[in-house]
Symmetry: D2
C-alpha cells in the first residue's frame, strides 16, 4: 500500500477534495498512525470555507484535520516511548523544544509552534505521521469517538480548570463544542451553578445535557440581569468566554463578581472593547488568555476525567460520516445543525 | 424563661452533666440563637473522656459542643447583618480581629483564637450566644441535621480544596467524619480515583457510600503497594492525612507521587517522624498544615456544595439522640460504633 | 478648640476653598487623628479641576485628600487596637465588613466601599476621624513625608507584587507617582531589567532615580521595538500598566512575552480596545485588574519595604506646601511640573 | 589529543585519583564541552570521603564533579540549539523525557533521573559530554568562576523563590554555600529582614556579606527567642531550611509565623521528627520539599539575577586550585575552612 485516502485543501479557495495521496513517511523521531476516527473542529470549517484567517495562514496543498485517534503502525528508529499497536491520539501543537516557552514548561505557547492540519499535514487521512513528543497514549477504555475529541476537550479542561471551580458559580458564554465540554468539566469539578448563555436552540439543549443548571437565550433574556438576580447581585465567581463575541464578552464581564476569574478562549474576528475602568480595574478581575492545552498536564487530567467517567462527551456527537461525506458534514456545521461530527476514514 | 437545658462539663474529670443553667446574655455585638440541632465532634469526645489534651485546655464549668444550627431569637444593639428568625450556624473560631493573621485574611489561624465549646460556652444547650462576626446565615434548603455539620464539613472542604483535585487521584488516610466528608468533597470536585484507607469496617463502608473508588483496609493490604500498583508506580497526586497516625503518615507519603500535594489535618498525640530526605526533599512534596476553615471563603464554598446537592452528607448521620442520651451517644462514639450523632435539645 | 483649617470642595465646580470648619466628632468605633502631613493624589486633582468623574461622584461640601500621616489624639469607647499618641496612617477604603468580598479577605474591593476624601470627609484638614479598622499604626522610623505616601505606595506594592518579579524583566508604562513607586518596588524585589515608558522628561528622570534600567520616551522611540530588541524578541515577563492610555496599553501588550503577566492599574477616561486574539488569547496572557491595596497584607509588606530601606520614596517629593498654597500646588500638578507634593496643615 | 586529565573515583573507598583518561565521545544528541572551571559541591566531598550515601549510590570508576562552565568544542549531528564556541554550563539532572514528571514540566524531579558526576561521568575533567537538553548557554558577562556555580545557585533560587519574599522576613538555618546563596537571593528579591542561623564563624561572616541582617550563632543564642523577639512574637514569614539538622528544623518551625512558608532543602542523614500538631497542623504551615532546579525556569531567573548584578556570588569563592590540588581542596572543605573552591583543569 503506497497511497491513502485523504481530505485535501488543494488550492486556495473554498472547498476540499477527497483523493488518494502518498502515504506519509515518518522520520527517525516520528510515529505513523492509522487513523480510526477524526472529528471536525471549527478551525476545519474555516479552512473549508476559506475565511480570511484561513486565506492568510494555510498554504495548500495540505491535508487538514487535527482531532483524531488511531493505532500506531510504525515508529522511527529514535522513538522510545511508543510502539506499534499502541492506541494513541496527539497534541496538535508541534513545539520547537528550544524556545523560552518550551524550556519553561509552556510549550503549548511555543514561540515557533506549528500546528497539525494547519501548518503540516493533518488527520483527515487514513494515516498521519506525528513527532513522538506529540503522541498521547490513550486508555483503551475510552472509545474511539470520544478519544478523537481529546484535543478540543483538552482546551475545555485547560480553560475551565486554570483555577478551580469546586463550590463556585460559573458562566459560560458560547456553547459551541468547547463551551459545551467546559460545562461538563465544570460540572464534574464541583461547580455549583452553571449559567449557559447561547442563542442557538440545539446548543442550549446540549448545554443542559452537559450539566448546565441555568439556560439563558440572550436574544430572549438579558444574561447580566439573570445572573445577577440568581447570585444575590454579586455575580458569578468564574466566567468562561467561549464565544469570541463583543457583546457576550461585555455581558460576561458585567455579570462577573468583583475579584472573579475569567478564561478567554473564544477567538473574535476583530478587536474587542472593554469598559476597562469598571470591568477590569475596579473589579479586580483575574483574567487568563487560554490557548491550547498544557503539555501534558492537561492530557493527564483529561484522561482521568474520561477514564473515570466523571465526564461523558457522547451527547456531543450528533453525526457520523465517512470521508466521502465531508461536504455534507461541512454543510451541517456551517448551518449550525450539528455539534461534533466524527469521521471514519473508510 | 430564664434557664435552659445544657450539657455541662462541671468539674475536671470524665463525664458530663445534663442540667438547667442560666440563659446566656448576649452583649451588644452578639447574637442569641435557639439551637435546633447540634452534632458531636471528636473534640467533644475528648472533653467528655477528659483526655490529656482536654485536661490541659478545658476550664470547667463549661457547656461544650460547637457544631450546630439554630434560629436567631435576639440580637445585640450593634448587630447589623443578622436578625431574629434567621436560620444560622456559626464558625467556631472566635478571632481577635487585630492580630497579623486576622488583618491578612487568615483569621482562622488567629494568634488569639478562642473556640466555641472549648474556651467559651458552646452549643450543647437550648440557646447559645455567638459574636455577630461568627454567625453564618444558612440556606433553608439545607436541612438542620446537615446544617449542624457545616463546621466539620468546612474542615473537609478546606483540607481537600486547598489545591484543586479535578482530574486527579487522591488518597485519604483515616475515615473518621472529616475524612469521610473529604471523600465526598473530592468526589464532587472531580477527583478521578479516591483511595480510602481505614481499618474500621463500618467506616470503610461509609467511605464507599461517600464516593471512594478504592477501599483499603491497612490491616489486610499494604496501602503503599495497592496505590502504587493502581497508579502505574507513580503514586497519587494528592494525599489527605486525616488520621494523625504515624504509620498512616508514612504510608501516605510513600504512596504520594513526586511533586504531589499533602493536606495534614489529623492531629496525633505526639511527635511524628518523617523519612525526610526521600519523602519530603527528593520528592519535592508540597505540604499544607490545615486548621479550621477559611473565614469565610470555605463557608461560601461549602454552602454551594450542599445547596446544589453536589455533596450529600446524610449517610454520615448514624444516630440521633436527645440531650438526655448524651452518655449513650458518647459510649457509641468511644466504641467507634457511630459516625456522626446529631443531638436535639429536647 | 472647636474648629480647624481644611481644604474644602464647597460647591460643584472647579477649585477649592481653605476655610475653618468644625472639628470631626469621632463615633464609638472611630479614631481622631491630628494630621502631620498629607500628600496630593491624582484623584485630588480631578476633584479640584472638577472633571467628569468628580462631577458624577463627589457630593459637596466635602473635605478632600486621603493620603496622610498623623498622630492619634482621641479614640472612641469601642476602640481597642489604637491609643492616643500612636503614629498612624489609614487605609482609605472604608469597607462594609459584611459583603461577600469583606468576608473572604478582599475588603479592598468591598461591594459597598466608601472612600476617605471622596465619599466622606478626608485628610486635607488639621484633624481627620477614621474607623478603627482603617487605621494603620506606622513605624516611627518612617518620616512623616514618606509615611504620608503609604496609601499610593500600597497601590504600587499590590500591583507590582501580585505575582513576583525577582529575576524577571518588567515594563512600566506611565510614570506618574504610582508608576514611579512601582519601579522602586520592582527594583527592590529583584526585577532584573525595568523598562520605564513615559513621554514626560521630568518623570523619566525620576524613573531612573527609582531604579529603571531602560528609559523610553514613546514620542521618540517605539517602546515595542526597544523592549523586543532588549529581550531577544521574546518580550518582558511583566507589564505594569500605570497610564490608562489606549496606545500605551496596546504597546504594553505587544511587548509582553507569551504567558506574561499584566497588572492593570491606570484608569482611562473611556473604553479600551484590545487586539484580543493575538494579545490575549494566543498570547496566553495572565492579567489582573488592580484596585486599592490588600487589607492589610499590602500594608505589612510596604511597611517592611520602607522600614528596611529597601525602597526610598524621598526623590518623589518635589514640593512642600502649607494648606494655603493649595492652588499653587494644584497648578504645578496640572502642568505636570511636580511629582508628589506634601502638604502641612499650618 | 586522545586523553585528558580528570579527577576519578577509581574504586570504592575514600579518596580520588588525578589521572589521564580517554576523551569522552559525544553521541548524536550530545555536546562536548572544554571545562574552564569546575566548583566543588558538598556531594563531591561525600563521594571523596566515601560516606554511606556515596557507598550506596556511586559505581566506580567514575569522574565526579558536576558544577562547571566551559566552551563547546564539538556537537553531535542531531544537536540544533548549541554550536562550537558557545560559553555554557549544564543542568546536572539528566531527565528521561518520557515520565509523568518530565511531561508535566517537572523534569527536575524526573522519575528516572541520572545525575552528572554521580551516575555518569562528570565535570572534574578537561572535557565533559552532556546531552543537548542539559546544556545552558551562559551570558559572557558572567565570569567563569561565578558561572561555574550556576547549578548550586539554581538550588538557592528555586528554594528561596518558590513563593515570593519581597517585603517579607526570612530565616535561613544553615549557611553552607547554598544557604549563603539563598541569603543573597532573598536580599536581592526584597526580603526585609534576613535571619542567618549558623554555628560556624566563617560562614556567619559570609552570611553578613551576602546580606543577612541578623546573625545568630545557635550555640550562643536561642534562634527561636531572637527571631520571635525581633518579629513582635509572630515569627518569620519564610523559613529556608538549609542544614538538614534535627535541631535546626525544630527551631526553624518554632520561629515560623502561623501560615508561614518553609522550603526544605537540606538533607539529613536520618529521619526527622516534628512537633506535628503545633508546628504543622495548628500552624497552618505551607511546606515545600525542594530538589534541584526548575528546568529551565530557574536557570532563566538565575541568569537575570547574575547578569543584572542583583546578586554577587564572588565573596563565596574562598579558594582556587588546579586539579592536582584536589586533596588539599577536599581537606579544607572537610575541615570547613573553605566555602566554595573553584578548580581549573590545568
Amino acid at each position: 500500500m503506497e497511497t491513502m485516502k485523504a481530505i485535501v485543501k488543494e488550492t486556495p479557495g473554498p472547498g476540499a477534495k477527497v483523493k488518494e495521496v502518498p502515504l506519509p513517511e515518518p522520520g527517525p523521531g516520528d510515529v505513523l498512525i492509522k487513523v480510526i476516527n477524526a472529528s471536525i473542529c471549527g478551525t476545519d470549517v474555516h479552512i473549508y470555507t476559506w475565511d480570511p484567517w484561513a486565506a492568510s495562514r494555510i498554504k495548500p496543498p495540505i491535508i487538514f484535520g487535527h482531532e483524531f485517534v488511531g493505532e500506531v503502525v510504525e515508529v522511527g528508529k529514535d522513538v522510545k516511548s511508543v510502539k506499534p499497536g499502541d492506541y494513541v491520539s496527539a497534541e496538535t501543537h508541534i513545539a520547537c523544544g528550544h524556545c523560552y516557552m518550551c524550556r519553561t514548561g509552556n510549550s503549548h505557547i511555543c514561540l515557533n509552534v506549528r500546528i497539525l492540519g494547519v501548518d503540516v499535514n493533518g488527520a483527515f487521512a487514513q494515516y498521519i505521521s506525528v513527532p513522538e513528543a506529540n503522541v498521547w497514549k490513550t486508555d483503551r477504555s475510552i472509545p474511539p469517538e470520544i478519544a478523537s475529541m481529546q484535543e478540543p476537550f483538552g482546551n475545555a479542561v485547560h480553560a475551565t480548570l486554570i483555577e478551580d471551580v469546586a463550590g463556585k458559580t460559573v458562566s459560560i458564554f458560547g456553547c459551541g463544542p468547547i463551551g459545551l465540554m467546559s460545562i461538563a468539566v465544570a460540572r464534574a469539578s464541583g461547580a455549583s451553578r452553571i449559567f449557559a448563555v447561547e442563542p442557538h436552540r440545539m446548543r442550549l439543549e446540549l448545554a443542559e445535557k452537559m450539566g448546565a443548571t441555568h439556560l439563558i437565550d440572550p436574544e430572549r433574556d438579558d444574561p447580566v440581569q439573570v445572573i445577577l438576580d440568581e447570585t444575590g447581585g454579586v455575580g458569578v465567581d468564574v466566567f468562561l468566554e467561549m464565544s469570541g463575541n463583543q457583546k457576550a464578552i461585555e455581558q460576561g464581564m458585567k455579570s462577573l463578581r468583583k475579584g472573579g476569574r475569567v478564561s478567554f478562549l473564544g477567538i473574535p474576528g476583530g478587536p474587542i472593547t472593554f469598559d476597562f475602568a469598571n470591568d477590569i480595574v475596579f473589579k479586580g478581575a483575574v483574567m487568563y488568555g487560554v490557548n491550547g492545552r498544557k503539555m501534558f498536564d492537561t492530557w493527564y487530567r483529561l484522561t482521568e476525567l474520561l477514564r473515570s467517567e466523571r465526564v461523558d462527551l457522547s451527547p456531543l456527537v450528533t453525526h457520523r460520516f465517512g470521508f466521502d461525506d465531508i461536504h455534507k458534514a461541512m454543510d451541517l456545521l456551517i448551518k449550525k445543525e450539528a455539534c461534533k461530527i466524527v469521521l471514519t476514514p473508510e
